[in-house]
Symmetry: D2
Subunit: 254 residues, 4 copies
């Protein structure tokens, strides 16, 4: 491409917004938000219940009390006195490899394994050999996460379960660990034909709702500047000390 | 409150996630994402079509080509080689007072005016006197934004239009400027009983979808490190010069 | 201006970087970082000890244990598994109106008051009348902040104290509240001729160092996914409840 | 560790701030910002000219006109109407693997190679075999970057050049590519004993100054909402089209 800005996602002109070719007002009339996610990430509207399960995915993860780093981060940042979009963004940044990010890695694994015909046994053996975790399995405390069971049941009921979700299930059995919410989302979006590169997006979209609510709760119910008290901090660095008597060398003579 | 972390938004325990008291798996079964937004921001599920129009609002604003600062920012940041959630967050930060942020200010204005019984004439006169713009009206290029017309039509068709949207319409007439998408969203969410503090959230939620798609498009179709060429930059600072002969004073003798 | 990108800050061409006209290699030879801050924000190199006190300002605020929202935010975000620059950025976002942001507001106040000849009595009376705090005075726990005393002493010793710092001192006396670190920085940078628009920058620059150290400490000494325990969260929302029997209206028939 | 918050970096109590054990007011009296960076990242004050060269490193990279993704991102975000710290943070997020991030990867490579006794020939052969770039070498346009030459000359003049910088030089010769600014910083900080985990921090600290200046320039010299014009966008997605006649399936009956 030779121009500076290129896109295939949408075209905007005077009084017209086309998203993947569709007029935005038509989409507003007939599409759910789940349909829009599908359209945005695959380029086409769903033929079946794909938008329906994407809607369920984003319904599932808006909130997790104040017990997830993204949420605590937003509350601390909001307490500093910043606009809503800035504290929500700060919380979203936390959605990394250890926090929802497993969807990207798990979806990549499932998509490449299904493409190459690798099975659960081979995958688990490979991870055991290299001493790495298989992303998308196990949870620090939910052992029957209600979100996971519901998503899997919906995928089956709506005819959307395919080889990727099946592989995830077999990996879970092989590992002897529950498929967690990341694993379920990975299997489902992969069966929907959505590339693993979009893996982190679902949690991001969903959590934006909860983080906005936490920003407002923080700024309307709590005092500004959320401060941890000195007695709640354990310090294990050097004791109070004097600077060395010897002067450090001066900056360069200028 | 005396504990460090307090919330009324959700409660999480082993194998259970309650959002505003509702079990998350029940919400996944029966609620749209629009319903979830309403629940998250008001504390209750919609009694009528409130979730339906919130869904339409978030469908309306996912995308705007590469012609909005939030989107260009995400594309530049993505080109630096960062994870998806980080470049999406960078773009969201741009949704400030001049970029979708008018919803917060316009909703605050409409809510206080309806509460106090101030009319369009008084509001417009006040802004004219102080030389400030009334937020939510006028657009640099859409003069019949299809998103605005659709939202207003839906609010009426679904019995959701009330005094705030009516006031917005009268302000538009008084000003002789179109109600823009920010103004329409402001009127509608105010009629739904959603506080102005949440004003920026709708655009944030919606745009997250488009920014994720732009991140993937940037990182899969473009070369890393999006660089503006020297000849595309106009420089009007000092010409090349030598440092002053006189040495600046040294840092403190240490 | 008619081109898209315009700047007076620097010019870059093949094998040459000019900052405000000076060759970067000359600046590296003869300037301190404090000199660079002065050059960047005023356009010229310091004639006296201005760079010296800016260096002291940025030395003063790198760290505050884990007892400031910016730092706690970075630690939570880092625990999500993200690159260093992303968690540092999340923490910096917290430096808002209640967290270092007072420098912007206090410097604006001092600069306009000195320009207009308003004195401490008038300023304090005005804030008392409107029930607002004068930014830059009082501290939740330091009543003799060692950073503040040192900065004021250095400004005097180095001949940099002028009418803005003097006004800050009179406001402190009038209010019966200590000048805090924000107030001292505001007075000093204003006497240096730096515009209030740059007010938040000093804390930002300085804290970047500490946040980077916290990111590394978090990711090398702590386990991933910093999780607040359920028993440490007080919940005061609705008890567990069933969805209303009555179905919410369907999304629009499509 | 059993407490929630643990740190070795600093201890704060009433009227006292200790950084790595040193009183902040003593540091303000006798240390440069470069010394502070060294103290923050290694735990001790420099014995020689280490702080001096760190100061030169952060002087070197504050600015790059509007020709680096971090800077363009900050300008777009600032134009949305956001506080200074938020637009600076957005720009910093861009400092990823393709934009300054090479310091982390290059320093890791140099540190592990020196520790293991691997030489330039082996390293370059390994990267050639795997088809990956050696980070820290080559530049899209500077072939004699004045910042690189100056840093290398200073490291030598001040007795700070060691085996890591030497290895970087040999890799450059082996590759037939210039050592770029990332490579030079990597070699130098590695010889100073700073862990590669801090690699991205130097560019972050430095660029914060320039981004703050760009925020102010954008918000004081340009109009709000920096908008790319429709004619400057190349679109290659689907042409305008109608929604499919067939209705997508409804969301679940609720």
């Amino acid at each position: 491409m030779t121009t500076f800005w290129n896109t295939s996602l949408s075209r905007v002109s005077r009084n017209k917004v086309l998203i993947r070719g569709y007029r935005v007002e038509d989409l507003m009339d007939r599409c759910s938000f789940g349909d829009m996610i599908y359209l945005s990430f695959t380029g086409e509207l769903p033929a079946g219940a794909e938008g329906r399960i994407l809607e369920s995915i984003v319904v599932s993860s808006t909130e997790h009390s104040v017990m997830a780093p993204s949420i605590n981060a937003t509350r601390f940042v909001a307490s500093g006195g910043v606009p809503l979009q800035a504290s929500v963004a700060a919380g979203l940044i936390a959605l990394g490899d250890h926090h929802g990010g497993a969807v990207e890695n798990c979806a990549r694994l499932l998509q490449s394994a299904v493409a190459d015909g690798r099975g659960a046994g081979e995958i688990v053996a490979g991870h055991r050999a290299s001493g790495t975790r298989v992303p998308g399995f196990g949870h620090p405390w939910h052992d029957r996460d209600p979100r996971t069971s519901k998503l899997v049941a919906q995928a089956e009921a709506w005819g959307l379960a395919g080889p990727h979700l099946e592989l995830a299930r077999r990996i879970s059995a092989e590992l002897g660990k529950v498929m967690n919410i990341d694993g379920a989302i990975s299997g489902i979006i992969s069966d929907l034909g959505i590339g693993w590169e979009y893996g982190k997006a679902f949690f991001l979209i969903s959590r934006t709702v909860g983080l906005a609510a936490h920003h407002v709760e923080e700024t309307t119910r709590e005092r500004p500047f959320r401060a941890v008290a000195p007695e709640d901090v354990a310090y294990d660095g050097p004791e109070e000390r004097d600077l060395p008597a010897r002067k450090p060398p001066r900056p360069p003579d200028r």
